[in-house]
Structure formats: structure tokens, C-alpha cells
């Protein structure tokens, strides 16, 4: 069981590190959101699930499962809201970005 917990923690840590590298290296806001949202959601889920295995059946593991559920609901929502705000705010995209937006603004980006 201890080895299983450590495997879950290592997997979560791997995804967190990938997310941080993406946050630091990718060229614009949308790419950074793309990297960090998925990696953080999965990484937090894996590490907290490892802690659930460590806690066993108790009130603590119910609380941890609540935190996992809440992070899985709110993290994608928050990222969507940030991306929407950035898009409406006319954040510049990286060099060489192609857009399939058919509205007036998308045509202006082309």
C-alpha cells in the first residue's frame, strides 16, 4: 500500500512539473492556460487520491474526495472564464497563430 501511495504522489508531481514548465515556456496566454489547466487538475487529483489511499476509510478521506470533486469542477470553469476574459480583452496571440473564427474580429486576426 505504501508503494502505491508513493506511485500516486510521483505521478501527480510529474504532472505538476509539466504544468509549471508549460506555464514558463509557452508563448501566449491561451497556450499557458492549455498547459496548466489539464496538468494541474490531473496532478492535484492524483496526489489527493494517493492521500485518500493513505487515510483509508474515514472522515478524512471523505473530505479529500470532496476536495478532489471540487477541484475537478472549479479548475476547468475558472480556466474557461480566464480564457473568455482574455479573448474579450483582445489579448494578442503568438506569432503564426491561425484562427477559424468567422466573426468580424476573427477575420481581422487573419
Amino acid at each position: 500500500m505504501e508503494i502505491l501511495v508513493i506511485i500516486f504522489l510521483l505521478a501527480g508531481m510529474f504532472f505538476f512539473v509539466v504544468g509549471v514548465v508549460g506555464l514558463l515556456r509557452l508563448p501566449d496566454v491561451y497556450c499557458r492556460l492549455h498547459a496548466t489547466t489539464k496538468c494541474d487538475t490531473l496532478g492535484a487529483g492524483l496526489i489527493l487520491f494517493g492521500l485518500v489511499l493513505f487515510a483509508g476509510i474515514s472522515v478524512d478521506s471523505v473530505k479529500l474526495l470532496l476536495i478532489i470533486l471540487f477541484i475537478w469542477l472549479t479548475n476547468p470553469t475558472a480556466s474557461h472564464i480566464i480564457a473568455h476574459a482574455a479573448y474579450r480583452n483582445n489579448e494578442p496571440t503568438a506569432e503564426g497563430t491561425h484562427t477559424l473564427d468567422k466573426t468580424e474580429r476573427g477575420a481581422a486576426c487573419d
Binding site: F16, V17, V20, I67, I71, N75, I82
Partner: protein, 88 residues
């Protein structure tokens, strides 16, 4: 024995959080900073959970729940302010 591992992972996650802080400080636009703060919030929840099991203070998990809630509300508020210029 696993408690030591939890402390080690908390320290590693703190180092990752410090790297995110670079993007929050440097980030060319305000949206970049919001992304970085959102990431730091998620990492803080995980660090609090790890610390609570490392030192057998399980009631810290309540703090983690409240931190996750408040971090989400803060992100939504800042994003709305970015989009509309006010919180009306």
C-alpha cells in the same frame, strides 16, 4: 515513514510554486498573472493536504476546502474585472 515522503513532496511542490511566481511577476499581460495565481492556488490546496497528513493534524483539511473555495471565487472575480472593468 510515509510522513517524511509527504514533507519531501510538500517541499518539491513549494519549489514549483516559486517557479510559478516568476510568471506572476514577469507575465506581460494581466491574464498571465491570473493564470499563475490560479495555478498557485491549486498547488497551495495540495500542499496544505500533504502537510496535514505529514504532521497528523487532520483538521487542516477543512482549511484546504475553504482555500479551494476562496481561490475559485477570487479567480472568477478577477477575470470578471478584467473583462468588464468593474465588478457590477
Amino acid at each position: 515513514m510515509l510522513e517524511t515522503v509527504f514533507v519531501a513532496f510538500a517541499v518539491l511542490l513549494s519549489a514549483a510554486t516559486f517557479l510559478c511566481l516568476f510568471r506572476a511577476v514577469l507575465g506581460p499581460s494581466a491574464a498571465d498573472r491570473v493564470v499563475a495565481i490560479n495555478v498557485i492556488g491549486t498547488k497551495a490546496v495540495v500542499i496544505i493536504s500533504l502537510i496535514s497528513f505529514a504532521f497528523h493534524q487532520e483538521y487542516f483539511l477543512d482549511v484546504a476546502i475553504v482555500y479551494a473555495l476562496i481561490s475559485f471565487v477570487a479567480t472568477v472575480g478577477i477575470a470578471k474585472y478584467l473583462e468588464k472593468g468593474s465588478l457590477e
